[in-house]
Symmetry: C3
Subunit: 267 residues, 3 copies
């Protein structure tokens, strides 16, 4: 039975995150680089999008966390990702995998399966992606999930147990698991699906929250990352007239998020 994440946990995790302003190395798809950087900056992280094979390894080793997203994978980017992930693993930099459209396209699905060997700290995807990575039949439509998030809870637990990662399945309700405990978050708004990059940016926020976090606190850190995005999205959607006005409101709400707004949103 999933447990709701308490507001006090989210507040404590956000506070820890903001105090450390983690240097977050992001290797993501072309579509969302700018938005992802702006989400991280609004929350208070220090993002760096380092994508050259010549630089990605040494940077992953000095960064506080690494976020890897295969949304517009090319063979050149796959090479960079391998270098960065290996360097991160070796240096003890926690890294997060966003398996965009895994299960739909074999090329990226194979890379994601290969990367699972490198001990990701967390994996964040939609239901279809998590089910595909766990080896279950899933139905994605392009980059969108054709499955509800609760259909993927068992897949998420299996994947967490197998990989050692915290697994987050996001959707109308988010479920986050370490293979045993399952935490749920019911916030957010459907308007978030009408803006590109909210899921991708969340994966980088997960990386930034995992930075410097003790292993036993990781489930709370990942769940709190999901919660701050969902809460800011819900608050933004309440005032937005459409997906255009949503974006500035969302970033402002990330920036302004505090104990009061978090507590209100979950009340």
């Amino acid at each position: 039975m999933p447990q709701a994440l308490p507001a006090t946990t989210i507040i404590a995790q956000l506070d820890r995150f903001r105090r450390t302003a983690p240097l977050t190395h992001v290797i993501t798809n072309d579509v969302v680089t700018g938005f992802t950087a702006n989400v991280l900056l609004a929350l208070g992280a220090a993002p760096a999008m380092i994508t050259a094979p010549e630089e990605a390894g040494s940077f992953a080793a000095i960064a506080s966390a690494l976020s890897v997203n295969v949304g517009t994978l090319t063979s050149a980017q796959a090479a960079t990702i391998r270098i960065a992930v290996q360097a991160a693993s070796r240096a003890g930099t926690p890294w997060v995998l966003d398996p965009v459209a895994a299960g739909v396209l074999p090329y990226r699905t194979e890379l994601c399966q290969e990367l699972l060997q490198q001990h990701p700290a967390a994996i964040r995807g939609n239901a279809s992606e998590i089910m595909a990575l766990a080896g279950q039949a899933a139905a994605g439509k392009g980059v969108d999930s054709a499955n509800q998030s609760d259909q993927a809870i068992d897949a998420a637990k299996a994947l967490a147990t197998r990989s050692g990662a915290i697994v987050a399945v996001t959707g109308e309700i988010d479920y986050i698991t370490d293979g045993e405990r399952v935490v749920s978050i019911k916030a957010g708004d459907p308007l978030m699906t009408r803006v590109t990059g909210t899921g991708c940016a969340l994966s980088s926020v997960v990386a930034a929250f995992v930075a410097g976090c003790p292993a036993e606190e990781r489930l709370n850190a990942v769940a709190s990352a999901c919660a701050v995005m969902a809460i800011a999205g819900q608050r933004a959607a309440a005032r937005a007239k459409g997906p255009g006005s949503f974006v500035p409101l969302f970033l402002d709400n990330l920036y302004l998020l505090d104990a009061i707004t978090i507590t209100e949103a979950l009340a």
Copy 2:
């Protein structure tokens, strides 16, 4: 003599488009990927930016439409475009060409001429680009047109006849032709030229409107795509204080566009 596009046609086409939420494969330039995805999402399509040669062919075959834009062409991207366009042609996926800066730079002009052999469903460009593709002397300044759209009507008709594509020349007035009929749209606002990507995003909207559309309806589908962008732009510009506030208003207006706002805008 160009005919004005009736509001009822635009309303019917937008309705068909929204009911199908077409999976739209977009290969576009670096500058506008995020904005293009947001435009498609705001209108109700399902965009997917798949750019690897390993994936572009199989994805173009399953997508409902493909949009190709040469704005930041590299040799790697040219290879991907060839694969995607051939796969689309073979699978019967309609595809749209945006020949950014054709006529100004020989490398991309040659690729565009080559791609014309692959039966695009539609071509969308500014006057200079369409004149250059049709083999007429044109005068572009970088990515901007140095010609008025009405100067390119004959070139557009000739290009449509030669390629079998619907050709849209956009500018202060848009002209859309199948080689015989010419439809015109007088909407939009000069502020749209002070924001990057409105033309590029339009080409992807054209692709999304052409998805699943019978051949005899294509002229109406392409013209309606131009019309919804121009109408949303005009409505946004009426309330914007500059190009910054224009963008969120534009996306909101695309999202909110309906029979009433379309009818009002053309009254």
Copy 3:
């Protein structure tokens, strides 16, 4: 002793810039391409992001200015940058270097040092980057400076003398120097550091202001570019609720900037 830049100089430079609407060739990082184009369009330039090695040389030769930023450098991009910079030097097109994270990552630091031989018209960076390029010990954190801008004044003067470029060190106060005179600008707002790309976009604005400018006016042109960005940022921040609402307000303020708003901001 740094001198404050008079409002009348900024007004005259902005006026000259807007009358010529310079065709500005931009080779920049993936994260900020769209934002940079929108900044240039809002101010009144004609940006073109031409990134293929097949096209970059011929385009740099016909452009009014070239802007080069190494923020997401790859070996393919390094090759394009070399071609573009050489073509610009040969054709007399002024070009500007933005040495993002120079000093932190050896690969890009070496390229920047190599490019200094090609006579940049201007160099724009934060304190850590300018100190690193000048050969002084600096402390960057990823892409952010760990030094205050006034710590880099001597490095900027030395770098200007050695390279022949106008050097701009931006931060809470901006310092711009030709190696002898130092001009300072105190405007802007800390919120600008919570939005990705304000520094990168500024470097392209510097290029656009340097376009068509006589050598003896270059210090004023570069300083005015810094000033218009800082003034628009300050005006936007005064009304923004966070980094999300800042962006549209910033672009609107760039678009609306005039003699009155410039004079007010410096009063």
